[in-house]
Symmetry: C2
Subunit: 142 residues, 2 copies
């Protein structure tokens, strides 16, 4: 069992949510996929394991998982509909995404600390979070 599955049930339970077949299946699909997936794609894959699953439930589940930070949206010029499982269970990280095949790799390096501090001082903003996404072509797609 992976880092994610060790923890996601706990995280749901902590917050009073139930562990259901739909949630388990959606999460398994995302976890098993090296590439980002749209709700529709998740639905198609998940139905292979859970026939009666409805697309609505996929949407609802994704919203929940996103709220609990178990799943994250991948933003691209082409649209921001697809999602990816959060693999490093703890700690700050960002995504490196392949423009061609959608392969997602997490990376922990984030040299933004001092830049953000300066930015905060200069602008008067109370900086709360940041989102970084790096786009390129993976070794296979070059």
């Amino acid at each position: 069992m992976s880092i994610l599955t060790e923890n996601w049930e706990e995280r749901l339970k902590e917050q009073g949510y139930r562990i259901t077949k739909s949630r388990r299946t959606v999460l398994e699909v995302l976890e098993a996929s090296p590439i980002r997936l749209t709700p529709e794609e998740i639905y198609r894959r998940a139905r292979r394991r859970h026939r009666k699953l409805g697309l609505v439930t996929v949407y609802r589940t994704l919203a929940l998982l996103e709220k609990l930070n178990l799943v994250q949206r991948v933003h691209t010029e082409a649209g921001c509909r697809s999602l990816t499982a959060v693999r490093l269970d703890k700690g700050h990280h960002h995504h490196l995404v392949c423009r061609t095949c959608g392969y997602v790799e997490e990376f922990p390096d984030c040299a933004l600390g001092s830049v953000l501090r300066k930015l905060q001082a200069r602008t008067g903003f109370a900086i709360e979070s940041h989102h970084l996404e790096v786009v390129g072509r993976c070794p296979k797609c070059q």
Copy 2:
């Protein structure tokens, strides 16, 4: 006349596009707004100046302006529908966005060069671009 309006006509003409009332109005609306706007919001504001404008044209114009890099999408957890004018006409920059009111400020600092080079070496990706967005609360909204 602002930096933007000095240049956008040229950029369109260079590429063989025409300067139309719709395009002018959409751009003026975005340029005049300190906050990010959705296509719908742009449409409502633009219609005050250009009565017969259609929402379809707003969509089409935004797609074009985005392609020409005169306008940029703002990504947030709540959705990625809104846009903002690109104010620094040249050079690499990112956005600082207020979570509450949507105020957008551009900033040129980007300390990612070396991080990205290392990332490229380590992962084998051919890195092509990156997107950074910093979220917080602006001075007014704190």
